[in-house]
Every structure is written in structure tokens, then in C-alpha cells.
């Protein structure tokens, strides 16, 4: 154990593998850098055995993944409760509300446009242009949502606190980049499973227990893979897509916690898909109600997404309050 003092006067203990990272003090909530056991006069004798190897290899280089660069935030004077942490992920209501509104309208437009395009059969090319425009706009708008999730994930990886990435800035370029990141993570693995799931759903007959189980077995890994893939990519900005090995390694870090997390995310996913399907059906009969339901669906999707990435982020963060006492 490493022993060191916080600015509030409390003596803290941390496990040696947290050395060099920033943690927040359980008493006052301030961020404190955990001193290196060899450079500082921590309890050397206790850690000497375990760190005989570390003496030859600096801690930051033990892992072959570039370590996350911790940023200390000395002005965080209060201890944050779990409720506060949750509320932080719920901030920016106006941003998400507006975003969901635009996305709801875009979804409704797409749903109205798409059948027209298909039905124009003979004169298809004339319909192609509006479709491309629609796709471009939707990608950018969805990109702002991806940036919002990125910011949540980023702040979780920094050990909590409000988002620091400038997702509120109007910057379509970075929004498109963020969308591309999420889209690439989806294409590199989950897309295949989702495609299989849809194909299976189409051909499965009315949903029996067996069919529902197969559908679940296809969607759970798909959603899980997607989120973990984004997680990996956020920690490794040098990569274009997460490789299956990195995803597997990240899953090992998560351990058994991945199971309840996967179940919860999948349940939320199914609820939202169900809601969206109903909203889209409603659009055909009463467009205003459909639009409203679509908005609710998008609004809730971004928030649930933020909670999910925050949770996953805090579990895999190199900097964390876990282990402090």
C-alpha cells in the first residue's frame, strides 16, 4: 500500500498499481495524484517485494497500451454522491432535448421519404439526390449526439466530473468524425450480428421462447461489442477500428460486471427499439403523436447511452476512486 496525504489533511492509502494516477479523495472529493512508491517516500518496505520488477520498468510502461494522461483538477472541493454523479450524466438537457427534436424530425422525414423513393420504381434516380442529402444531414446531426456520448465517456475515464470535451460547440466536422468513429466501431463486428438478428427475426415465425432466445443471443453480443469497441477506441486514439483482441482484453478488465451491464444495456436497447417501432407506426396515422414519441425515444436513448458509457468508462478508467481508502 502507498500512503500519502491529501490537501485536506487526511492520510490516504492506495494500492500500488494506482501509482502515478489521479484519484479523488473519499473525504473531500479533491483530485490527488497518487505518488510513485519509489520516487516518493511512501511505505517502501511494504511494496518492495511487489515492485522489485517495477524498479526496472517504470509503472507507466508496464502496459503496452499508452496510458491515459491523467489531468488533475484541484478545484473539486466537495465529495460527490452517487446521485450527483448520475445527475452529471443528465446535464445538458437543452442540448439533448434539441438534438432529439431534430433527430425525431429527420427520422420522420426519412420514413416518409423512403417508401416514396422505393415506389417511384421506374424513375429512381430522381429520388436519389434527396436521399443522399438526407443521409448527410442525419450523419452530422447524429454526430453531435456521438460527441455528447464521447464527452461522457471521456469524463468517466478521467475519474468523473462534468464533461470537458467541447461537445456544445457547433463544429460539424468533429461531429462527423465522432459519428464516423461510432459507425466504424459498429461496422467492425456488431453490424454482422445485427444483420443476422434482423434476418433471423424476419424468418423466425411468431416469437416463441426458442426464437426469442436466439434473437437475444445475437443482439446482446452485438450491443456489448459495440460499446466496448467505442471504449477501446477512446482509450486508443491511434487505432481506426478496435480489433477483436483489444475488445476481448477490455472485456477481461470488466470481468463479471460485463454480464449485468450487458443485460441492462440490451434491455434498454430492446425497450427503445420497441418504442421506436411504435413511434414509426404511429407516424403513419397520427404524425404529431408519432413525432412526440420519437422525440421521447431519442431523448431517452442519448441519456441511457450516456449512463452506459459513463458506467463502462468508470469501470475501466485508469484513474479511479476504487482502491482508495
Amino acid at each position: 500500500m502507498i500512503r500519502f496525504d491529501c490537501q485536506c489533511g487526511k492520510t490516504l492509502k492506495a494500492s500500488p498499481d494506482l501509482a502515478g494516477t489521479v484519484c479523488s479523495c473519499p473525504a473531500c472529493g479533491a483530485y490527488v495524484a497518487v505518488p510513485h512508491p519509489l520516487s516518493d517516500d511512501g511505505d517502501l518496505r511494504e511494496t518492495a517485494g511487489a515492485y522489485a520488477l517495477a524498479a526496472e520498468q517504470p509503472v507507466a510502461c508496464v502496459s503496452d497500451e499508452p496510458a491515459f494522461v491523467p489531468v488533475s483538477n484541484p478545484r473539486a472541493p466537495f465529495k460527490r454522491s452517487a446521485l450527483e454523479v448520475w445527475w452529471e450524466s443528465q446535464q445538458n438537457l437543452t442540448f439533448v432535448g434539441g438534438l432529439s427534436g431534430i433527430l425525431a424530425v429527420l427520422t420522420a422525414l426519412g420514413i416518409a421519404l423512403y417508401p416514396r423513393l422505393l415506389q417511384s420504381g421506374i424513375d429512381w434516380p430522381s429520388g436519389l439526390f434527396p436521399a443522399l442529402v438526407w443521409m448527410g444531414i442525419t450523419a452530422v446531426v447524429a454526430g453531435f449526439g456521438c460527441k455528447f456520448l464521447d464527452a461522457a465517456l471521456d469524463s468517466a475515464l478521467r475519474g468523473g466530473g462534468p464533461e470537458q470535451s467541447p461537445f456544445l460547440e457547433f463544429d460539424p466536422g468533429s461531429a462527423l468524425a465522432s459519428f464516423t468513429k461510432w459507425a466504424l466501431c459498429f461496422v467492425a463486428g456488431p453490424a454482422f450480428l445485427v444483420y443476422e438478428a434482423i434476418r433471423f427475426w424476419i424468418r423466425c415465425g411468431d416469437l416463441s421462447v426458442v426464437n426469442a432466445t436466439i434473437l437475444l443471443e445475437l443482439t446482446v453480443p452485438a450491443i456489448g461489442y459495440w460499446l466496448v469497441g467505442v471504449l477501446v477506441l477512446t482509450q486508443r486514439p491511434d487505432l481506426v477500428v478496435p480489433s477483436p483482441w483489444q475488445v476481448a482484453r477490455c472485456l477481461r478488465t470488466l470481468g463479471v460486471r460485463a454480464v449485468p451491464a450487458g443485460a441492462a444495456v440490451t434491455a434498454a436497447g430492446f425497450i427503445h427499439v420497441w418504442l421506436a417501432i411504435n413511434a414509426i407506426i404511429l407516424l403513419h396515422t397520427s404524425w404529431l403523436t408519432g413525432l412526440l414519441l420519437l422525440w421521447v425515444c431519442w431523448f431517452s436513448t442519448w441519456h441511457c447511452g450516456a449512463i452506459a458509457v459513463r458506467t463502462l468508462g468508470s469501470w475501466t478508467a485508469p484513474t479511479s476512486r476504487l482502491g482508495l481508502s
Binding site: P115, I122, I202, R203, C204, H284
Partner: protein, 460 residues
């Protein structure tokens, strides 16, 4: 030397760290690995079991082979001209008392036994819904068939029996060269009464349709909804169909309204409704004007109905003929791709499951007001619990008819109102209106190509 030294140092370092962390001796360590592997294997097989079960289930459900001897017996029954007190009818009253023809083949005859029928053989179907005061008095909706013939004048049915405001009109009516909807000296039908006709469809390939699993029909339903932005089958213009679900969850596929699930059931209904041959599957209809008629017994046994079914299953399937003439062949090929491009294949889907070249999705489609007609060709009341509550076919909903064999099944549409293929296409309203419009806006030579393609869909 130097290298060896550093290697020694390395191994020495390793030893040191091993010393630092004492690993307790665990005699079960190997065993534990084995256990973990066992758990993993068990978990993997548990995960794979639902998919494996489904694969097995799919592989095992095969249509039973045709019983040639039974089919032979069935052919005899299908071609047999039934008479009152027929010797083949066991202890029953034989043909009638009310009937539409005296043999199956009298209607199902175009292109050989089992084919479609001309308009003279149309069946008259009625539905009578009670008005508000009748409903209050406990009146129930009725539906059934007005039979064209009877064994004696006492039993002869007429439209007057359907509703007192309609004339005592002896069938058949108006079988002129041009189709006329049923009206009475210019007056429309009384309120609450729906009277329509059904043209005889061909039975070639019915055995294949019978063997299609429900899930393949549901697949069409889901694919169409997904394709058209999750629109429902209530859509008035998008070709989104729906599978007709029975109360027990099975999917209807036979008849113009897809009202029957199994071929065997349709055969039993046909025996009773068309020929007046009561059987264990369906009682023979009571004459509308003589409801106290007591049948002597059943005319057909289950075995006889199964023989008829086997005969229909044994009929060859329709074929897509390649025209011998090279020019016609080219036209038909171009027509086939046009058929897809103008949107006919939205409903007339070429393949359903393993059945190739059927050109139907077997789903109900809203075909517009012009086609509206109720009646389900059974003698059951409308509240009949056969359909899932609230999901019986609407008046404008029709099952997409398979187009295989369409070259020889004129007249077309449910009541034979279309004399030829062009005529049939122009009558597509509602969900079919857009593709009919696409057809109409094609240049004349391309229209001819589409027709040339349809004419290759021939009876065996």
C-alpha cells in the same frame, strides 16, 4: 558469455519475484482447469442449443410423400358426377339438396382436371349484417353461399332468401360476355347485405402451398413492413400485406381471402359447399329456404376427403415455359425484369420459402374500394371464432393470387371481372394502384413484354 550472463540474471530476477509471492500448493489445480473447461463447454452448448433445436426442427419438417394409390382413389372422386343418393356417398343423401355443380371437375377444369373455372361457374357469396334494431333484438350476422342448383324445386335457393327485399331470383344470373356486379333491376343491394361472386382458382401446386411453413409467410409480412418504413397493412397505397391469423395462431393461405389454413380443410369445405356432400370436417349446408331439412347422415368419410386431398397434392405444379420462338423469348425475359421494376413483385413475390416461381406473398392486401366484398365462403356466422379476434379479412382485402399458371386461368380477379391480363392489371386499386399506374405509363411495347412474361406462366 555476456548474453548468457544477462540471461542468468533475468532468470534470477524471475526466481526472486516468484519467491516474493508464495503460491500455495494446490493439488486440485489441474482438476480446476478441467472443471473450468467443462463449464465453458457446457455454457457454449447451452448457448448453441436454441439454434441447433431450430435447425433440427426445420430439417425434420418435410412434406409427406404423395400416396399414389390414395391419389388415384381421389381422382375418381374428383371426376365423379354425383347424384342424389349416390352409391359412393355411404349412407348420406348424396348430391345436394343444394349444390353448385355435380362434380369438382365441373368447375376446376381449365387446362385439365384441377384447373380454374370460367365465369359461368362463379359461386355467389353473401353476408348479411343486422341493423341496429335487429342487433338489439339479438340478431346475428349471417354469411354463406347462395347455391345455383337443388335436387328439387322445394329446396331451390334464391336471393330472396338472403334478404326479403331482394327478388326471388333463380340463379344463375347475368352470365353475359361482360362482367356485371349483382344488382336488381338497377337498384343497389339492401342495406347490410353484401353479395359477391368467387371465380374458381386452379389447384395446380396447391400441395406445395400447403407445405409452406407459417414462418415463411410471416417472413413476407415482416419483410414488407420493414421495406415500407414499418407502415401497417391498413396503408391505402403502400403494398404492405398481412398474414391472416387464425385463433390458434396458424396462418391462412387458401381461398381468395386466405381464409383457410390447410388444404385438407378446404377440400372438406368445398365438398360440403359446392356439392352438398356433408363430411366429418364440415356439415352440408341447409337450404336457405328450407332450414328444417335433416340430412340422413354424412356423405363422405374422412378417408374419402383425404383421398381427394391427396389427388390435389399429386397434381403437377405449374411451369414457367420458355417460349420456343427466340423473339418471344427475349420479350418475355425483358418482361420479367419489367415486372419487378414496376413493382409487381412487391406483392407477386416470385419465391416463398422453398417454393419457386409462385409469384405471390400469400398475404392479404387492401385492393381499394372497387374490389370490396365480404363473405368468406363458409357457412359459419361472422362471429366465427376461427380468426384471431378482430383480424378477419376486411371487405377490400384480398390474398395476392399466385400467378403461376395465370396464362390459362382467365377470367381474372376474385369474381372473374377481368377478361384478360391487361384488364386485370388495370383493376388493381388501393395498394396495387401505384404499380398498375407504373404499368399504364410504360410504352406499349414494354407493356406487351410484361404480358408476354405472364403468358409464360403456364399450367403443367
Amino acid at each position: 558469455m555476456n548474453r548468457q550472463g544477462s540471461r542468468a540474471a533475468l532468470s534470477h530476477g524471475k526466481k526472486q519475484s516468484e519467491v516474493g509471492t508464495t503460491i500455495p500448493f494446490n493439488p486440485y489445480a489441474g482438476n480446476f482447469m478441467f472443471q473450468r473447461r467443462l463449464i465453458l463447454v457446457a455454457l457454449a452448448s447451452l448457448m448453441a442449443s436454441p439454434a441447433a433445436y431450430r435447425c433440427y426442427d426445420r430439417l425434420m419438417t418435410k412434406a409427406p410423400p404423395v400416396d399414389a394409390a390414395m391419389a388415384q382413389e381421389g381422382k375418381v372422386l374428383f371426376d365423379h358426377e354425383w347424384t342424389p343418393n349416390d352409391p359412393l356417398a355411404g349412407g348420406g343423401d348424396g348430391l345436394g339438396p343444394v349444390f353448385n355443380a355435380n362434380s369438382c371437375v365441373a368447375c376446376h377444369r381449365q387446362g385439365g382436371g384441377g384447373g380454374g373455372g370460367p365465369r359461368e361457374n362463379n359461386v355467389h357469396v353473401f353476408t348479411v349484417r343486422p341493423n341496429v334494431s335487429e342487433m338489439a333484438a339479438g340478431g346475428k350476422a349471417r354469411q354463406g353461399v347462395v347455391h345455383t342448383q337443388a335436387v328439387g324445386p322445394t329446396f331451390q335457393e334464391s336471393f330472396g332468401h338472403v334478404h326479403p327485399e331482394m327478388p326471388i331470383h333463380v340463379l344463375p344470373i347475368s352470365v353475359g360476355p361482360v362482367f356485371q356486379p349483382i344488382t336488381f333491376s338497377g337498384n343497389s343491394l339492401p342495406r347490410g347485405v353484401d353479395l359477391s361472386q368467387r371465380n374458381t382458382p386452379a389447384l395446380f401446386g396447391a400441395g406445395l402451398i400447403d407445405a409452406i411453413p407459417d414462418s415463411d409467410i410471416i417472413a413476407n409480412e415482416r419483410a414488407q413492413r420493414l421495406k415500407w418504413g414499418l407502415a401497417t397493412s391498413q396503408s391505402k397505397d403502400l403494398p404492405v400485406g398481412r398474414a391472416l391469423r387464425m385463433a390458434d395462431g396458424r396462418i391462412g393461405r387458401f381461398g381468395w381471402k386466405a381464409q383457410t389454413v390447410r388444404l385438407a380443410d378446404f377440400v372438406r369445405a368445398a365438398c360440403a359447399n359446392e356439392l352438398g356432400l356433408g363430411n366429418p370436417g364440415q356439415a352440408q349446408p341447409q337450404p336457405l329456404g328450407f332450414p328444417s331439412y335433416q340430412p340422413r347422415g354424412l356423405d363422405l368419410t374422412d378417408a374419402q376427403c383425404d383421398q381427394l386431398t391427396q389427388f390435389i397434392v399429386s397434381l403437377p405444379r405449374p411451369v414457367e415455359r420458355t417460349p420456343l420462338d427466340a423473339d418471344l423469348h427475349r420479350k418475355a425475359r425483358a418482361g420479367k425484369s419489367l415486372f419487378a421494376r414496376i413493382g409487381c413483385t412487391h406483392c407477386h413475390v416470385a419465391d416463398v420459402g422453398n417454393v419457386r416461381g409462385m409469384y405471390s406473398d400469400l398475404l392479404l392486401h387492401d385492393m381499394g374500394q372497387e374490389t370490396e366484398a365480404g363473405g368468406n365462403y363458409t357457412d359459419q356466422p361472422l362471429e366465427e371464432p376461427a380468426f384471431k379476434p378482430g383480424s378477419g379479412p376486411f371487405p377490400a382485402e384480398w390474398r395476392t393470387p399466385p400467378l403461376w399458371g395465370v396464362a390459362r386461368s382467365a377470367p381474372y380477379m376474385h369474381d372473374g371481372r377481368a377478361v384478360n391480363l391487361e384488364h386485370a392489371i388495370s383493376m388493381h386499386g388501393g395498394q396495387g394502384a401505384k404499380s398498375a399506374h407504373n404499368y399504364a405509363s410504360l410504352p406499349v411495347d414494354e407493356q406487351a413484354q410484361v404480358i408476354a412474361f405472364l403468358m409464360t406462366l403456364d399450367t403443367p
